[in-house]
């Protein structure tokens, strides 16, 4: 490979002098590639890209085909359009209160995001901009939480929320039973992202605002936060996605009924369980597609934020 690249100029020239032999297109391609290895890398690149596109998108395509193929028909990789039924997407809403499940998920995700952004802003400001004794140990303490599996918090929280620890305090089947664990478990990531962003604002800007008579908190919320808007958006998008996708507490902190604030986890699992008595695979697939739509839109709109947030938050340590 190495000598191929060094004499690549010569290779092109000799190609012209060479008499065209009768070669197949593949042999010609191989011949050219030997002279110019860059073509091989290019080809490998296209093959790899295509491979990843197919492997990541195929499961979604499978869901779609499964959803629109009628129960009586058999599944084909390329189904005929005339045999498809799109009514299944409406069926999902008829069979169960899927709209309510979706709404619950969005409400839980939005309220957790609001709480996390507010608390993490205060903490991120402190860790990013203030010098005080105990800064390092406290940051490590917060980091330590993210190492524990959700299962390690589960039993006491379940007892707390079912009113077995403090009498009369029963949050099971209410949004609080999910928002509180979500907030505390997803807050560390936001704190680290915001610490990075808030730490980058020059001191002079904050000082100028303070000289003009802004209060300490005012300087945080009217100078630091607006100047770090991309960071706040990043933390918000990641928190929203994390909550929307969460499984553990979403399943275990309610009884799975939509009126008890069960999010889409409850909806899809109830479809799956109903499937044991009556085959409704098409409906399950349709429900899954509908559930993906909000995050799919978010990924398309905010992909830069997701990429920067994941990398800055995770590589911070």
């Amino acid at each position: 490979m190495s000598d191929g690249s060094t004499r690549s100029d010569g290779g092109v020239q000799s190609d012209r002098h060479e008499p065209e032999l009768t070669r197949g297109p593949f042999q010609r391609w191989v011949q050219k590639s030997i002279k110019d290895p860059k073509r091989v890398y290019r080809a490998m690149f296209y093959v790899a890209t295509l491979f990843f596109l197919v492997t990541t998108l195929f499961p979604f395509y499978f869901l779609l085909v499964l959803a629109v193929t009628p129960d009586t028909g058999s599944l084909a990789v390329l189904p005929q359009l005339s045999t498809l039924e799109f009514g299944v997407f409406l069926d999902v809403f008829d069979r169960i209160n899927f709209l309510r499940y979706m709404l619950n998920s969005v409400v839980l995700a939005l309220s957790t995001t609001a709480i996390v952004l507010f608390l993490a802003s205060l903490a991120g400001y402190v860790f990013g901009r203030l010098e005080f004794p105990g800064r390092q140990p406290l940051m490590l303490l917060i980091l330590a939480i993210s190492y524990f599996p959700p299962a390690a918090f589960f039993v006491p929280l379940y007892q707390l929320f079912t009113g077995n620890v403090v009498n009369g305090l029963s949050l099971y089947n209410t949004p609080g039973a999910m928002i509180l664990p979500f907030s505390s478990l997803f807050m560390p990531l936001s704190i680290f992202i915001l610490t990075t962003f808030y730490g980058q604002i020059p001191d002079g800007l904050e000082d100028a605002a303070r000289v003009e008579g802004t209060t300490r908190l005012g300087a945080l919320f009217r100078v630091i936060v607006p100047l770090s808007a991309p960071g706040v958006a990043t933390a918000g998008v990641l928190t929203f996605i994390a909550v929307y996708n969460e499984f553990f507490f979403s399943q275990l902190m309610n009884n799975g009924q939509p009126e008890n604030w069960a999010p889409i986890v409850g909806g899809l699992l109830s479809l799956q369980r109903a499937g044991q008595f009556e085959v409704t695979y098409g409906v399950m697939a349709a429900g899954s597609i509908i559930a993906v739509i909000p995050v799919a839109i978010l990924v398309v709109v905010a992909q830069e934020k997701i990429v920067s947030g994941l990398t800055s938050g995770a590589l911070k340590e």
Partner: protein, 335 residues
């Protein structure tokens, strides 16, 4: 939040007097006092919903299981840990903690073994594939934005949908991946899959691994990509001038520089893979593939609170061991 304008005029009403006194109290705090004041709300939440449950779980793990009215039995110190780690408790648990024999079947039925198998295999493939994805995304080409969206999309979908996709794909009568004994599909003919893969511990674990690799490779790829893009392009020019081939440039420039990033990414994925629960619960149910987190929930449902808390803490301890292995490796690699 009381961040309204205060234009400098003196406080007039009592309401405003209170606000002004709060503000001036805040202005007069030292930096340390102010720092702790702002951290209070976050730590109140973490204290109640994170630190207290952890300590409480630890305390619970010191009490025997109770099969009567009371929620827990007598204080037995570390008795639960001893009973579970030695396998003495296995007969009472919904699934054994350790493999009960040295057969493949026993390994896939044991919570510890199946979790380790799941973690090691999925993190291994995620690292390799994530690396290649990062190399692809590192190129400049038209449509890169959309390729990146396609690669991130599986990462962003709910766990329950991920589980549902693979549950449906490997469902015997609908997917084309699983046939019947009369009409075996390709994977059945190869002997890779039984005709009821979701009820078979070994097949279901492999399906969960494929599902995990499909969903979380993107995370690996993005972190590795960030590492690649932080490399000073000048280093490549130097290497080229020195006559290094593309492979040598990769081996001596790219690889050593991004190795720490890869380790951090692997650490994060390992922590997450060790906690696997939702994916397994949706794909095959916790009785078929008893991961450690699954076992915490199933023992809890059997009202064995002491055992449940103990397994939760053993899981946390295993994660801590994995974390320290990476940290030691990281420190050694950094020297």
């Amino acid at each position: 939040m009381s961040t309204e304008h205060r234009t400098g005029d003196a406080p007039e009403s009592g309401d405003r007097g209170l606000y002004a006194s709060v503000v001036s109290w805040m202005e007069n705090l030292s930096e340390t006092q102010y720092a702790y004041l702002l951290l209070t709300p976050a730590f109140l939440l973490l204290g109640a919903i994170a630190f207290w449950p952890l300590l409480s779980t630890f305390r619970l793990s010191m009490f025997a299981d109770s099969f009567g009215q009371a929620s827990v039995g007598n204080f037995i110190g570390l008795g639960n840990y001893v009973a579970i780690i030695t396998g003495e408790r296995s007969a009472l648990l919904p699934s054994p903690f350790l493999p009960e024999a040295l057969t493949t079947r026993a390994f896939f039925n044991s919570a510890l073994a199946v979790t380790v198998i799941f973690t090691v295999i999925s993190v291994f493939f995620e690292t390799i594939i994530g690396f290649v994805q990062a190399l692809v995304l590192d190129q400049e080409f038209r449509g890169r934005r959309w390729v990146r969206v396609a690669i991130i999309l599986p990462w962003a979908i709910p766990i329950v949908v991920q589980g549902m996709i693979f549950y449906l794909m490997f469902q015997p009568n609908i997917g084309f991946l699983v046939g019947t004994s009369d009409n075996p599909a390709f994977l059945n003919q190869l002997g890779l899959l039984s005709t009821t893969p979701l009820a078979n511990a070994q097949d279901a674990t492999m399906i969960a691994i494929v599902a995990d690799v499909w969903k979380t490779t993107a995370f690996m790829a993005l972190l590795i990509l960030a590492g690649m893009q932080s490399i000073d392009r000048g280093l490549y020019d130097v290497a080229k001038v020195a006559g290094a081939s593309a492979w040598q440039r990769f081996k001596y420039v790219t690889f050593p520089i991004i190795l720490p990033t890869v380790m951090v990414a692997m650490l994060f994925r390992t922590i997450q893979a060790m906690r696997v629960y939702g994916l397994i619960e949706t794909v095959s149910g916790c009785t078929t593939v008893p991961s450690l987190s699954c076992l915490v929930v199933t023992t809890f449902n059997n009202r064995m609170l002491g055992s449940s808390a103990t397994i939760a803490f053993i899981t946390a301890a295993i994660i801590a061991v994995a974390v320290s292995v990476y940290i030691v490796g990281y420190v050694r690699g950094g020297q």
